[in-house]
Subunit: 94 residues, 10 copies
Amino acid sequence: MPEYLVRIALKRPDTIDDRTWAAVLDAERAVGLDYRRRGAIQRIWRVPGTTSNVGIWSAPDVSELDQLLAGLPAFRYLTIKVEALARHYLEADQ
Amino acid sequence: MPEYLVRIALKRPDTIDDRTWAAVLDAERAVGLDYRRRGAIQRIWRVPGTTSNVGIWSAPDVSELDQLLAGLPAFRYLTIKVEALARHYLEADQ
Amino acid sequence: MPEYLVRIALKRPDTIDDRTWAAVLDAERAVGLDYRRRGAIQRIWRVPGTTSNVGIWSAPDVSELDQLLAGLPAFRYLTIKVEALARHYLEADQ
Amino acid sequence: MPEYLVRIALKRPDTIDDRTWAAVLDAERAVGLDYRRRGAIQRIWRVPGTTSNVGIWSAPDVSELDQLLAGLPAFRYLTIKVEALARHYLEADQ
Amino acid sequence: MPEYLVRIALKRPDTIDDRTWAAVLDAERAVGLDYRRRGAIQRIWRVPGTTSNVGIWSAPDVSELDQLLAGLPAFRYLTIKVEALARHYLEADQ
Amino acid sequence: MPEYLVRIALKRPDTIDDRTWAAVLDAERAVGLDYRRRGAIQRIWRVPGTTSNVGIWSAPDVSELDQLLAGLPAFRYLTIKVEALARHYLEADQ
Amino acid sequence: MPEYLVRIALKRPDTIDDRTWAAVLDAERAVGLDYRRRGAIQRIWRVPGTTSNVGIWSAPDVSELDQLLAGLPAFRYLTIKVEALARHYLEADQ
Amino acid sequence: MPEYLVRIALKRPDTIDDRTWAAVLDAERAVGLDYRRRGAIQRIWRVPGTTSNVGIWSAPDVSELDQLLAGLPAFRYLTIKVEALARHYLEADQ
Amino acid sequence: MPEYLVRIALKRPDTIDDRTWAAVLDAERAVGLDYRRRGAIQRIWRVPGTTSNVGIWSAPDVSELDQLLAGLPAFRYLTIKVEALARHYLEADQ
Amino acid sequence: MPEYLVRIALKRPDTIDDRTWAAVLDAERAVGLDYRRRGAIQRIWRVPGTTSNVGIWSAPDVSELDQLLAGLPAFRYLTIKVEALARHYLEADQ
């Protein structure tokens, strides 16, 4: 299935209170875990020193990937950059 | 083992002849295959429409990664960008 | 008729309430549908993982395109980039 | 079928002679025409005042798009940027 | 008639000899003068300290502007950026 | 008299109310009209799809231009970029 | 132990009051002092004229560095950029 | 004494009231005048159309320059960029 | 007289021989000295670690500044950026 | 003594032969070693995957640093960026 390099930056607005923010993060964690288990997220890492992450995502096509991303509970607070990836010959014989 | 997001762009100089360039690419392919088998390169993709690739590399520390990269036969023709990655909680229970 | 590549990013301010925002989006959708039917918007796509879109717009000249864009109900919340396009010889025989 | 916004810049090296360059452009034109007829290139425009173009390409997945692009006769002289596009709701009822 | 802000940077390659370059500049000057007289170039200025210029060009549409620019004798040595301009209300009563 | 390429972007803060903003815009319009009539603004265009404009301004020197710009009623909400322009030989015989 | 070049920019939000901000800075200072004594921060300098600093940090791997950085009391107000460093031959004989 | 090119941009937050802001500006003016008289500021100019300035500052070393800048009353609202300058041979015989 | 911040970067092409280059630099030095004595160059500094310089230039208007710069013997090898400067109130009483 | 963050990128031109290049690198190594021993270079690291390095340099003032850098045998092939550093309070008690 096609894979994508997805970079996600999370930004907490100054005006949101701690409780609301904690709820956003809890919901985000739950959906993230679900995506990880289903394989939509293949691998994910923290960008050190930030609240950003970078991951290898998998989806049948970019429109379905877009729906997965737009479905993230924290979507409103995220800046997301998607890079579609193509097959490399070094992967052919794996 | 620590992982790194490594982006490699290959640029052929105008002044190199076809035979020399083919030899460079052959040597690069052989070393790439070796790195891929040993797990130095965990995953690799082509950036579509380019001669660049993006990969997940693995090395005990960044100095050893640097030596792996400097050891690429095409190193002189490569522009390489390394991004050290940190553990993400979604990976913890995999 | 001249065509334009138009990239539109939508940004919701932190200070707007949900109801007002929903009304903005509803109005935007209605005008978008109208533009799409009249052919002012020839094609449109979502930029995956974002609230931006990219589209092929058509207008007799750039001043009329500017009025179409300034007439979008969400205009105040949009960052728009217009790129005027010229005829390509591969289109000549279509 | 998935669509892509593809921006292609062509750069003639200072060291290439006129005849070789004309042959490259002829071959490029022939393949471009073929891609346009087969629908790999859906639409294409010149970026005014440049030797760049921007087009809407179509391919089953990004790896096949990558092969189409790498197969362009002028590939060595091109700088290509691919942007995968997702479905927009304004297209749904067309 | 629609107007465009056009920025043109001229770059002499290291490999061109003085005589050939002078011929390119002479031809460029002649065409520039012709465009200026016909009103294709409405106004033009040097960017101080550079071999770039910025001008207000006029053409029925962007495809014709593109042909005017591609017809410049020094086109191969130029980097051109076109910005289509829209009517401003302060111009309405002039 | 020396001429300048001036690019002005207007940004409405989220916190300003409609009435105050309308008053700012009215005052801006009046001063803009005055500058246009006096020739301080020689030509002005809208950047399509934005609340920015680009204009050719004229002033005896850059300090007087700076005072004209700082005197705009909306100055606090403007981002302004000034580019001093030099005489081009194609203008000599006009 | 691996070393990292870490650039940290501190930004006080407009909406925070003086007392809360002073408390954030006090806590930050205490943790900074602790990190400096333990050697997590090897060297640190102010970027002149700013509230940013640049430092040489040390940690067994980038995930531990990430935890040190995320543990800074002012983390929410910081923009941090980490650059992993590799051994240089001029350091070998020190 | 070493000299520095210092670029200072002033940005008024949307949330500050007119009286407080006027007091900030008054205090800034007084300290600026003092620095100018003492020679810490050698020369200073406005960047036309902005609330930024660019100046030649002088200080025994960059740490003292940093303290002068951090001591500006408007420091919290300033974005400052310092560039250390080296002796040029054309200055030697002045 | 109006002043300008002028940044000049010098780049030696790979293809020029040592003797020709030395002649270019000698001529440049002579003209630089002349400009410095006449006050066209008010002050000049090296950008440390580079072959660039930054200077305060003075000329009746930007067209004359442009001619001074275009008259530099090394002009063909220079990248020049001019920034017109406006009077600052801290200079008024000097 | 003042310290500087110095980033140095080395670029081998396509036109230089192997023997000349090796001589440049040998000379560079010798001077680097000398600077390191004398403390002009306090610390130095490779930027992984590149021929760049980043170092902490020390010099009485920026003009002397500039002379050290201009004295590097490979200077003609280097792109150097100097950042002057100021004292941080966390260093005070070390």
